[in-house]
């Protein structure tokens, strides 16, 4: 008998990360107010909003980067594949291998290109021998769309690459531990338009395998790379929806004011 549920399975993407009633406080400052959001698998989700709106703070909750800030307190639940990432049994280091992160400024380790990639797999014991590690390094650099540019100089320092190459190296480093989610905090703000286009192309390719969450100040970038867009304002998640809809016909006047460049 024909199974009617199968059709919808193709179109509906599974929820990868699910946040409910998330509150973040820095000391007495209430930085994130009651945020509910579902991040889909194999989808690029963009977080947009003015400076200080909480988008980076919220992004950092998704792999417990805020744990490193003493005055920061996170409430509510965030689940990765249905499991609470703030559960006391969860090891934040393991979590961050599953939920990788790429930062605004390219920050390669002061090591060779090879070791930049090999570092994560080594500490997580992902390779049994040198041959396997070589394979992981090559695969990751290919996924980072930088293999062809560096394959002949894997022993050269990562810091000697151009800014755009460094950022792609950092993305390759993030995917080396086989993460499921990739968080990107302004990954292109220090790059020129060509390098930006290369990273955006890369993000689109990464979407085949990962759930990508990107924080960006460039609304055009959000429009170009994402399928879902979330607009944050003063710590609130104001609107979350399909990117095309957000940019042609947003529901909330605050979203409208922000994306059209009006004082909101």
């Amino acid at each position: 008998m024909y199974d009617v549920t199968r059709d919808s399975d193709v179109d509906t993407k599974a929820t990868k990360l699910s946040a409910r009633n998330v509150q973040v406080y820095y000391g007495t400052t209430h930085a994130i107010k009651d945020v509910d959001v579902d991040i889909e698998d194999k989808t690029v989700t963009a977080f947009i909003g003015p400076s200080g709106c909480g988008k980076s703070t919220f992004l950092r909750c998704l792999n417990r980067m805020n744990d490193t800030i003493d005055v920061c307190r996170v409430e509510g639940t965030i689940q990765l594949d249905g499991e609470d990432i703030y559960d006391e049994r969860v090891d934040p280091v393991q979590l961050r291998a599953k939920v990788g992160m790429v930062f605004q400024k390219p920050n390669p380790f002061p090591k060779s290109i090879y070791d930049n990639i090999a570092y994560g797999p080594r500490i997580h014991g992902l390779a049994k021998n040198k041959a396997e590690l070589d394979e992981i390094v090559e695969k990751s650099l290919r996924r980072g769309a930088i293999w062809d540019e560096v394959k002949d100089r894997l022993d050269a320092p990562g810091t000697g690459l151009s800014g755009g190459q460094q950022q792609r190296l950092c993305i390759a480093r993030a995917v080396a531990t086989e993460p499921e989610v990739l968080l990107m905090d302004e990954p292109c703000s220090a790059l020129d338009p060509i390098a930006t286009a290369q990273v955006e192309e890369l993000i689109d390719e990464l979407r085949q395998n990962y759930s990508v969450v990107i924080v960006t100040h460039s609304m055009q970038q959000a429009a170009r790379v994402s399928q879902k867009t979330a607009f944050f304002h003063l710590g609130n998640l104001v609107e979350f929806g399909e990117t095309g809809q957000i940019f042609t016909n947003p529901e909330d006047p605050r979203t409208e004011s922000y994306i059209t460049g009006r004082i909101g």
Partner: protein
Amino acid sequence: MHDQHIASAFDRDLEAIQAQIMKMGGLVEAAIADAAKSLETRDEELANEIRAGDKAIDALEEQINQETARVIALRAPTAIDLRLILSVIKISGNLERIGDYAKNMAKRTGLLVNMTPVSDSASALRRMAREVEVMLKDALDSYIQRDADLARDVIDRDRDVDQMYTSLFREFLTFMMEDPRNITACMHLHFIAKNLERMGDHVTSIAEQVVYLVTGEAPEDARPKADVTSETF
């Protein structure tokens, strides 16, 4: 809700484009009124003025096309700004077409003044033209005031224009059957009626753009159809 843009030059660009649309709208309204008047009063000189005046309407459309392309390239408009630009492009296209129909009316009027008048058809056409002109005025008002309800009202009124066209169609058909000498004049009068009916459709399209601009969605129901002449005979 729509405050000023932080980049004030963007506001100035959008205002300039909208001023051009209103200027174009004013010229087109006048062209319809004058075309109907020249037909009724058999004023060949006025008809010639309308034909010459169409160039100004075409030039404005071209100017609006260039300005909107520039804004898209330089400002990457989104949301309400994007819908505004898209609607401006379509509305200027509609206005240009209406201008062409008025010009065609004037052209036929130039021929009709040298023929024997057919009954009082000119005044019936004048009433039809008046209806279209008021619809256009309301459509442009709804645009300026961002009034989707008024725009929907305009869309509904296209049915009246269609009905006027249908009854004129039958009337001309009767005249032609009664006396074949009427055929030439009636053919021209019929084309004038058809021009007015098409103008109504373009006005409806303008009103639909207003609904889209204001609500972000195309009007919910299909426009009413009352032109049944394609099923007659």
